[in-house]
Amino acid sequence: MSSTSAVLQERSTEPGAPVLVVDDLRTQIHTPRGDVQAVDGISFTLGRGETLGIVGESGSGKSVLGRTIMGLYTTGPTMTITGRVLIAGKDVHALSTTALRDLWGGDVGMVFQDPMTALNPVKKVGVHLTESLRKHRGMNRAQAAAHAAELLNLVGIPEPRRRLDQYPHELSGGMRQRVVIAMALANEPALLIADEPTTALDVTVQKQILDLLERLQDELGMAIMLISHNLGVVAGRADRVAVMYAGRVAETADAATLFDVPHHPYTEALLEAIPRLHQPPHVRLAAIDGAPPNMIAPPVGCRFAPRCRYAQPDCTAAPPVLDAALVRGVADPRHSFACYHPVNAGGQ
């Protein structure tokens, strides 16, 4: 997987330019019951070789964000998208359908959250991989098959040749997930959007896959958006982490700072909910009370307020904005949070 770094350099713009720019992105899903504001004003950039971890509440809009960035969700009868997404300098939501198809499997690869829905049950594993290799890299049947086997080997699937000839249901859950990862990596994308890529993997295979992604990152400068509920994975692999709640970023910082001095009460609560290996069995885990907000009519003001143990009257008046944290009175551009009454903010 190194022969193509030349191709990749050609694809990206000047060095240092971000691979991904997301600017005030909003995705509204129109449903018969009302409009769901699934992604509500998200901005960030991602440079070559960088990993952004995205964590947050189930239903907070992480997958919708990923799909909107990919251009899989576009403005139409069921959705309205505003804001901007630039991938390698291209405005994703201004691309034609053909240009979008070139983008997928070209500059950008996506690992979908549920492997079974990303795989066509009546197509063999090999077909899933070779189709895109033949289309995007002009390989012939034999070349594509050989490369597909190599990809499966790369993601640690034993006997890759035989696996190519099997249907998705004949694979274990973790193998299916690795097939989806192999598909996303097939064309050595400049940007990888990995939505819960290791949920079905045991910890040793998980480590192998994450090591593989890191290696590709070093070799190819691939940027990664790593969506994961596994805070351990994110802590170890992401340069920066964004914590999402109800369609918005609640807090963002480099991984070490976020896990060490979280300022947003939601981040703090999330960290408390993690079961730890050194705890005895059957200890009661600290779940966050209450339910996530109804995204058709979210609470005004801070969306976490109904569940927040620090909430005060001013929290429900107007939404807090994402602002830089202060370290000894100086704004820290690497650490921002949206909260009126932050925790661990001693010096604020």
């Binding site: 189930s58 859950g173 993997l201 910890v203 960290l271 079961p275």
Partner: protein
């Protein structure tokens, strides 16, 4: 085929589920056979939770499905209470299995995409000809942390991954099972919902005297929910350990490898060192290694490991190990 031993099984009178010498094979091209599960045994006491950990592809889901007879195992025995589930007619299986439910690994694909949440939850009881009230559905939805008012009319594709998983758990609970087999039930949930679901399973278990088999990859999650943990490798059992002893007392080289590979959510976490990468030869269920199946990756392998299959034997209170290299030396080497 030789089993991996039965030393860890408990007296017959105390068990609600007993699985013995379970073998699951699939035919493969060219007259080959996939050895997904190769003679494993386990049991469940009333109100007990057995956690299963293991390599991806080692046969956990196949074993779970075989216990449910979906499809029936190639050989071996599965007894629920004092009733045998293998080798009886499909109709008998359906009746006898009624009090055992399984939550499958891929949540979305197990749901009919055209049905709404309210009908998906009521589906199970209705198949058994039982009517379900609106209130019953609402209670179980709330129990899994879904707001009935919000999700009532939704179809699966309108739910997030985690919401779908909660729906699957609600469906299983609706049938008031005695034994619940959960295959990766929380791996797609955020840690707060995960905590909620684990607490919920713990409460439900106590309230209904439920026994559980809980398959997952997160060691801390499995430790939290389980009384006893079984570690599998390539279709075999390599260790059975009381949950409380997992981190400090587990001995098998594969279990130690798992423990060393756990990523911890702490600020000081850097790349995880220690755990060795699998050697060039990836283990295959089509042609499993002779003797101990972990041998090609094992730093402690000896000649004996290539010829003699290790059997489970007791090494401590409730602790059983299938490894030739046991005793005090094994833990030091890990």
């Amino acid at each position: 085929m030789a089993g991996s031993g039965v030393a860890h099984l408990r007296p017959e009178t105390e068990r609600v589920l007993a699985v013995e010498d379970l073998v699951v094979q699939f035919p493969a091209k060219g007259g080959h056979t996939v050895h997904a599960v190769s003679g494993i045994s386990f049991d469940l006491l009333d109100g007990e939770t057995l956690g299963i950990l293991g390599e991806s592809g080692c046969g956990k889901s196949s074993a779970g499905r075989a216990v449910m007879q979906l499809p029936p195992p190639t050989s071996g025995s599965v007894r629920l209470g004092d009733e045998e589930l293998t080798g009886v007619t499909a109709q008998t299986v359906r009746e006898r299995r009624a009090r055992m439910q399984m939550i499958f690994q891929d949540p979305v694909s197990s749901l009919n995409p055209r049905r709404k949440v309210k009908d998906l939850v009521a589906e199970g009881p209705r198949i058994w000809g039982r009517e379900v009230t609106r209130e019953q559905i609402e209670v179980v939805l709330r129990a899994v942390g879904l707001d009935p008012a919000v999700v009532w009319e939704r179809r699966p594709h309108e739910l997030s991954g985690g919401q779908c998983q909660r729906l699957c758990i609600a469906r299983a609970l609706m049938l008031d099972p005695q034994v619940l087999i959960c295959d990766e039930p929380v791996s797609s949930l955020d840690v707060s919902v995960q905590a909620q679901i684990l607490n919920l399973l713990e409460d439900t278990k106590k309230r209904y005297g439920l026994s559980m088999v809980f398959i997952a990859h997160d060691l801390a999650v499995v430790k939290n929910i389980s009384d006893r943990i079984m570690i599998m490798y390539l279709g075999k059992v390599c260790e059975v350990v009381p949950a409380g002893d997992l981190a400090e007392r587990a001995l098998h080289p594969y279990t130690r490898l798992l423990l060393e590979s756990v990523p911890e959510a702490t600020a000081s976490e850097t790349a995880i060192g220690g755990a060795q990468r699998a050697g060039g030869e990836l283990p295959s269920p089509l042609n499993p290694p002779s003797g101990c199946r972990f041998r090609p990756r094992c730093p402690l392998a000896t000649e004996e490991c290539a010829t003699v299959e290790p059997q489970l034997r007791q090494v401590g209170e409730g602790h059983f190990l299938a490894c030739h290299n046991s005793g005090p030396g094994a833990s030091a080497a890990a």
